[in-house]
């Protein structure tokens, strides 16, 4: 909607209302930025300075804090683990998800609707509530305290929404392309890999964000399945770090900054992509 019709209005009450709304939104912007700003500034102060002068700048920025948290407290490892777990999970979410979507949307067969619904049943129901059988299952598979445990769970969690979004998209790819490729001698696998997948690239981009952000941020499953400090992902590492250094606010803020800033920077670089990806499941 790009009509500005109503804003040329000179009615006094209306302008006042508009001003109020603008002010409200401005205040909200401040409410978003200031806590983040303060977090970064606080991470450069000593704990004493944080308490004595919560709004001021540090006279002597403690850049060393970042070094301490990143290297000595092992955040580089948490970060690497998160990167590894998220990447591996996403590769398989996209591979298996797109394959299943292709199978369900490009062939007509009797079970297809039933299988589709089976995949979708994972969307609405929270897997967290099934943590007990999942715990026993992972234990029996011998996967406790191994990255594979959470990777498998993340793949499973990502598949339903991936199938939902991708199969909807793949249905719109014209059949004629497929026939043409078949005449040129393509088999089903190369139709999937060379025709349908490249055409689905925009939808795959959305699905990537839609799943990668929650997987990167997930706390619950690594909390349950990962105990060794060297295997912890960023959110769980951050949590145990908070348990250990609860009085050293200076380091706590540095840890938070390290956990939050990379995501913020990534977002600022490609915000539209993130916005479309994250809302992909809720917007038709």
């Amino acid at each position: 909607m790009n009509t500005d019709l109503r804003y040329s209005s000179t009615a006094w009450g209306k302008n006042l209302l508009l001003f109020t709304f603008h002010l409200l939104m401005g205040v909200y912007v401040g409410l978003i930025f200031y806590p983040l700003f303060n977090m970064v500034v606080s991470s450069l102060k000593t704990t004493r300075e944080i308490f004595q002068n919560p709004f001021g700048f540090p006279p002597l920025p403690q850049w060393r804090n970042f070094w301490i948290v990143w290297v000595e407290k092992g955040f580089y490892r948490y970060f690497g683990n998160s990167l590894w777990v998220t990447s591996v999970s996403m590769v398989f979410v996209l591979l298996f998800g797109s394959m299943a979507s292709y199978g369900l949307s490009r062939y007509s067969f009797r079970l297809s609707l039933g299988l589709y619904l089976l995949f979708l049943s994972g969307i609405m129901l929270p897997l967290k509530a099934a943590i007990i059988p999942l715990f026993i299952l992972i234990k029996n598979l011998g996967l406790m305290d191994r990255h594979l445990s959470i990777i498998l769970i993340f793949i499973a969690m990502g598949l339903p929404s991936t199938v939902f979004i991708l199969s909807g998209f793949m249905k719109t790819v014209p059949k004629e392309l497929e026939y043409a490729a078949r005449i040129d001698g393509c088999n089903d696998l190369s139709i999937y890999g060379r025709i349908v997948m490249p055409i689905s690239a925009p939808a795959i981009a959305l699905v990537t964000i839609y799943n990668a952000v929650p997987i990167w941020n997930d706390f619950f499953f690594p909390l349950v399945f990962i105990q060794s400090d060297r295997l912890k992902t960023l959110p769980v590492g951050l949590s145990s770090f908070f348990g250990q250094y609860s009085t050293n606010w200076s380091l706590l803020f540095s840890g938070l900054s390290i956990a939050i800033l990379p995501m913020l920077i990534l977002y600022l670089c490609m915000s539209n992509y993130f916005i479309r990806g994250m809302t992909a499941g809720a917007i038709k």
Partner: protein
């Protein structure tokens, strides 16, 4: 030849669907089914005992101390849902509408509101946990602007701790409904609105009679997501007031209660798999029926153009 063609089709379907299906079946459907199964047995640690029927559910609903804990937690989840609907989603609707009207700076606002949505709940929870401490930033700010009488232990007083945590969650999440509503409003054909303006409809009429009925699907999606989110609150409590929902269980939710019964914590002692499974099943049923209810309710109110 015909048979082999059918066979080949069957092979390809299996090839494409099977890997995903196996993973979903083993790690989502099986645990789902098993938690229902487990809730019907008595348990000794991780060893399954005898069949007890609905006994675990009876204990959750009718016997101390489970009953008090359960309904206390459920009440808090109810607060989460109501306050989030009332504050966050109303704010989201207002922001979304204003952004759709292209008020000055709308691109900037749109981008900014979405920032905290990307952050992990854990990081946001810990960050605000520090700010809301008695010696934290919020109280320091209140002192700075001369509202010293307003300072308090935001996470330490039973009457306000839950609302403080909900407030933090709203801070993180308000951009989401905002952008979903914005997209829904932007999808309304322009001629609809122009016709209304030409007929001399006032802003409130345009909003109430045209925009609102046309974005019912978005309202439903947001309501259902809020509901699912409210029933699954866990990280927020874990990071800000702890697994026990302190002070005095006032911030306890089904999620934290479930975790404590499933894995045991300092005060509740050993894990109780039977009771835990029963609570898990209750979470499933609540999520399923409440979502289905809202979807059915909104079906009747959707307007097709």
């Amino acid at each position: 030849m015909l048979l082999s063609k059918e066979l080949r089709k069957g092979f390809w379907i299996t090839f494409f669907v099977l890997p995903g299906l196996v993973i979903v079946a083993v790690f989502i459907l099986l645990p789902l089914f098993l938690s229902l199964f487990n809730s019907l047995f008595s348990w000794n640690q991780l060893i399954r005992g005898e069949w007890v029927g609905l006994e675990n559910f009876r204990r959750v609903f009718f016997t101390s101390p489970y009953r008090e804990r359960f309904f206390n937690a459920l009440r808090n989840n109810g607060k989460w849902f109501l306050v989030t609907m009332l504050v966050q989603n109303t704010l989201g609707l207002l922001f979304g509408y204003l952004l759709s009207r292209r008020i000055p700076g709308h691109g900037f606002f749109r981008r900014t509101f979405f920032i905290p949505v990307l952050f992990s709940i854990v990081a946001v929870g810990f960050l605000w946990g520090l700010y809301l401490k008695p010696n934290g930033l919020l109280n320091a700010f209140l002192k700075l602007v001369g509202m010293e009488s307003w300072t308090r232990a935001w996470l330490g007083e039973e009457s306000i701790a839950t609302f403080s945590i909900i407030g933090v969650n709203i801070w993180r999440w308000v951009g989401f409904p905002t952008l979903v509503f914005l997209a829904a409003i932007n999808a309304i054909p322009l001629d609809c609105l122009e016709a209304a303006y030409l007929d001399g409809a006032r802003e409130t009429q345009v909003f109430g009679r045209i925009v609102l009925p046309l974005i019912v699907p978005a309202l439903t999606v947001i309501t259902v997501l809020t509901l699912i989110g409210s029933l699954n609150v866990f990280e927020q409590i874990y990071t800000m007031t702890g697994l026990d929902g302190s002070p005095n269980y006032s911030t306890d939710t089904i999620g934290t209660l479930f975790y404590r019964t499933a894995f045991g914590s300092v005060d509740s002692g050993n894990p109780e798999i039977g009771i835990g499974s029963a609570i898990g099943v209750v979470i499933y049923l609540l999520t399923f029926f409440a979502s289905a209810g809202f979807i059915a309710l909104s079906r009747g109110r959707e307007v097709e153009l």
